[in-house]
């Protein structure tokens, strides 16, 4: 305790490590059968803004026989103190060493947090490689979250991956662990037991073979009870699923300091670059009365002055209008604000924003993603120029003076004409703003371009990423065309997008790269002040890895992909068909409109989309 106090007095934000927040759960360690630590491999403020953490925290802590405590990546000042004072990584709730827990679960939100996982294991005094943890009574190291859909780069470090949604799976994990202990099983028996549960992937129970070129050839289970393809977990009844109405309220201001209410899960619009659209299928809406009740509880239990209606595309929620009306009515008396973080590009969405935002403080954000209709058809982004102009016109007449537009560069089939398209679209929006706004001089259009990263399980999974030189050329091309008053141009550094692509399509051989990069000092790679590309390239050399072979190579349809044994529910045939349709510029409509494009999810998962009121299909506003 003394050592901890001394460390805390020497760091910038000690509140990141002390716990004691409102709604934090403290349980008596001695009374609990199974203890789990939830590890977020980034700093407190980032991790505490994550709804998944709140859901799992609630799901585990509502059990009488289990507890879940949190741990985040210590910031560098704290890491220095911990290493100097030999203070092992500890949990926020009980300040116990993470090493003392039965299960340590990491959440995988983005590829550039992977080195932090290794660093946290090391700070906890746990060997980073699972092979070195067979004996010694170390916690079972588990990982889940979106990046678990291509778990291979982490295969050497993680004992078990949970593929898909965690609400039910985490209970299966705890039950299996308890049963295994009752029977006195060793680590290998426990792993075999877990591998038999839907959604549980134990990488050490698969043999991986490569061809003479070093490309992946075959991934085969080593035991009969281990499935060839691990099917993702899906919560069929989202409306009835556990939802944290007593969420933790961060004491140190988090990135998002507000209540989060998930109105639906999944999006079937089918943008061909989007991994979330695949892995969270099918669409499951919650009932509006459930949401109204949960909103009231969560606001009362936290005291937050703002509630955010979250989902992949909140304006697609079929009952959004009545929901927003009812919530604005309830919130008006208490002065609570409602925010809609993911708006579709159309006038309908702006009307919603107008209803919730009485004071037009911030800007409105839209994501047309590509600059020409041709390319928007390629990526299946069902947005037209008219949609965008309608949306921004409504925004400018509605009182907003600033609009943010998100685009991607480096998309398949992109030419300079598509980049010109972004610039002319931005100018069109700016002109529209100046003609409609009440203070034309203050109109601002911010264009942010990110670089396309091919993602596993999407129709674009076979596509190469542009070289870094090409991305830089495109950024320079854009920058030249984005000069002028009222225009702001932002873009990402191509190096981190490149590394993201390497890991998003990487295989098991990248475990060696991760370890050598981490040993060389790479950490917090998602933070520009710590990202050290040269160090990464040296680590590639040391590990004998050609990173471009992962990021910039066109994968073949016939190849075994590193994530083929992970089942997201969509057939590979469908993805290939979507890929070919993309190249031909053919669009595929959303299945909610009633026409099933045959992605294969419903029969594979034995599930159906579920809309509020029990419908499975409903017309979408923009297809009326």
């Amino acid at each position: 305790m003394k050592r901890l106090e001394k460390a805390l007095r020497r760091v910038q934000k000690p509140g990141r490590y002390t716990g004691g927040e409102w709604n934090a759960v403290r349980k008596d360690w001695a009374d609990i059968d199974v203890k789990m630590a939830f590890a977020f491999p980034d700093v407190y403020e980032v991790g505490m803004s994550h709804l998944g953490l709140q859901i799992i925290y609630h799901a585990v802590n509502m059990r009488a026989d289990a507890l879940l405590e949190r741990v985040f990546a210590p910031w560098t000042d704290m890491e220095e103190q911990m290493r100097e004072r030999r203070l092992p990584l500890f949990s926020l709730e009980s300040h116990r060493p993470v090493r003392d827990f039965d299960i340590l679960g990491f959440t995988l939100q983005y590829e550039l947090s992977f080195t932090n996982i290794l660093n946290m294991l090391d700070l906890a005094g746990i060997p980073v490689r699972s092979g070195d943890r067979a004996a010694g009574g170390y916690p079972l190291v588990v990982a889940g979250g979106p990046c678990a859909y291509n778990p291979e780069p982490l295969a050497d470090f993680i004992d078990v991956f949970i593929i898909g949604e965690g609400e039910d799976a985490v209970n299966d994990l705890l039950d299996a662990w308890l049963e295994s202990r009752r029977r006195g099983e060793d680590r290998r028996r426990l792993l075999l037991r877990l591998a038999g549960i839907d959604g549980f992937y134990v990488p050490s129970l698969y043999r991986v073979e490569y061809d003479e070129k070093g490309h992946l050839e075959k991934v085969t289970p080593v035991a009969a009870e281990v499935p060839a393809v691990v099917k993702k977990r899906v919560v069929a009844d989202l409306d009835g699923a556990v939802f944290p109405t007593r969420p933790l309220v961060p004491a140190v201001e988090a990135v998002h300091n507000r209540a989060m209410l998930e109105v639906q899960r999944g999006c079937t619009r089918g943008c061909r670059f989007c991994q979330a659209g695949v892995i969270y299928r099918p669409v499951r809406e919650k009932e509006p009365q459930t949401l109204v009740r949960q909103a009231e509880e969560v606001l009362h239990n936290t005291g937050w002055g703002e509630i955010s209606l979250t989902s992949l595309s909140t304006s697609d929620y079929s009952q959004i209008k009545p929901l927003v009306s009812e919530l604005t009515g309830n919130c008006a008396e208490t002065g609570v604000n409602i925010s809609l973080p993911s708006l579709r590009v159309d006038a309908f969405s702006v009307d919603l924003a107008k209803e919730v935002q009485k004071v037009r403080r911030s800007s409105l954000t839209f994501a047309p993603e590509a600059g020409t209709q041709r390319l928007r058809d390629v990526i299946n982004k069902g947005v037209t120029e008219d949609n965008l102009l309608e949306a921004v016109s409504a925004a400018f007449t509605g009182g907003w003076q600033a609009v943010k537009l998100y685009f991607m560069i480096g998309l398949p089939t992109e030419t300079d004409a598509d980049l010109e398209g972004i610039a002319s679209l931005a100018r069109l929006v700016l002109e529209r703003g100046r003609s409609l706004s009440r203070s034309p001089g203050r109109v601002k259009v911010t264009v942010s371009v990110s670089s396309f990263v091919p993602k596993a399980h999407t129709p674009f999974q076979w596509e190469p990423q542009d070289t870094m030189d090409e991305l830089r050329r495109k950024q320079a091309f854009m920058r030249q065309r984005m000069r002028g008053r009222g225009l702001v141009f932002n873009y990402h550094d191509p190096e981190s997008s490149f590394l993201e692509a390497v890991f998003s399509r990487g295989d098991r051989k990248l475990s060696a790269l991760l370890e050598s990069a981490w040993r060389a000092g790479c950490h917090f790679d998602g933070w520009s002040e710590f990202f050290d590309f040269d160090r990464w390239m040296k680590a590639c050399e040391a590990a004998g890895i050609d990173p471009a072979g992962y990021a910039q190579r066109r994968f073949d349809y016939r190849e075994t992909l590193p994530w083929d044994h992970i089942g997201a529910g969509l057939s590979k045939k469908y993805l290939a068909r979507e890929h070919r349709r993309a190249l031909a510029g053919e669009i595929t409509p959303d299945c909610r409109t009633g026409k099933c494009p045959g992605c294969g999810l419903c029969p594979t998962m034995e599930i159906k989309p579920r809309l509020a009121g029990g419908e499975t299909v409903a017309p979408l506003y923009d297809s009326l």
Partner: protein
């Protein structure tokens, strides 16, 4: 106007809550307690709540003061009770008092603060000589270096801001009680006074090892 003065303690994990985070925490707590807090007018309304003297991160306090305005009268005892039911561990309301409409703002009226400072023996290069404090206080000037708003270093004399300082009996290390000027007219931080004392006595210690507790805040008069 319904103005209230709140006296509260900030200990345990809450002592690591920084000033702005504490403001937000108190605002949320008042919402949780469903208290009728008054808000400012304008585009970005904020609660009419102010903390008399911001406390450095890591410093404990047994007697912090805040001032809050409500839209209607609330019985002080009830306010304390309903807030205590919804405050996170380490924050506790000790007393709520009705303030007179004409009373000056707490922040402006503040004059002095009391502190207890502790240093463990292992964190000190040696014991403090018995008469060190008396000799230190006998000096006319105690100059320290401070960073001005412009970032430049300048010398300040903090002697007039040290009202009292005495060593308390303790088992090990150093235990001191201090009364320092605080507020807008003259403000001396406990770490400044103690660092100056140790420097004068020729004892080495890392200011980060000081365990400081504010035990009282006093207005003029």
């Amino acid at each position: 106007m319904h103005r209230y003065m709140i006296r509260y303690s900030k200990q345990g994990p809450a002592r690591y809550t920084a000033h702005l985070d504490l403001m937000r925490e108190l605002e949320r707590s008042m919402r949780r307690a469903r208290l009728p807090v008054a808000f400012s007018e304008g585009f970005n309304p904020h609660p009419k709540l102010s903390i008399a003297a911001p406390l450095p991160v890591g410093t404990e306090s047994l007697a912090e003061l805040a001032e809050v305005e409500m839209t209607r009268a609330v019985e002080p005892g009830l306010m304390a009770e309903s807030l205590n039911a919804v405050l996170p561990p380490g924050l506790k309301i000790r007393e709520v008092m009705k303030m007179d409409d004409a009373a000056p703002a707490l922040m402006a009226a503040l004059e002095r603060a009391n502190y207890i400072v502790q240093l463990d023996g292992e964190d000190l290069s040696g014991p403090l000589p018995g008469d060190a404090v008396r000799e230190f206080l006998d000096r006319d000037r105690v100059e320290i270096r401070r960073h001005g708003r412009d970032g430049k270093e300048k010398k300040s004399d903090i002697r007039p801001g040290i009202v009292k300082m005495e060593v308390l009996p303790g088992d090990d290390g150093l235990l001191l009680r201090m009364e320092l000027k605080t507020g807008s007219v003259m403000n001396v931080r406990p770490v400044e006074a103690l660092t100056a004392l140790l420097e004068y006595a020729g004892i080495k210690a890392d200011p980060a090892d000081l365990q400081i507790t504010r035990t009282g805040l006093f207005t003029a008069g």
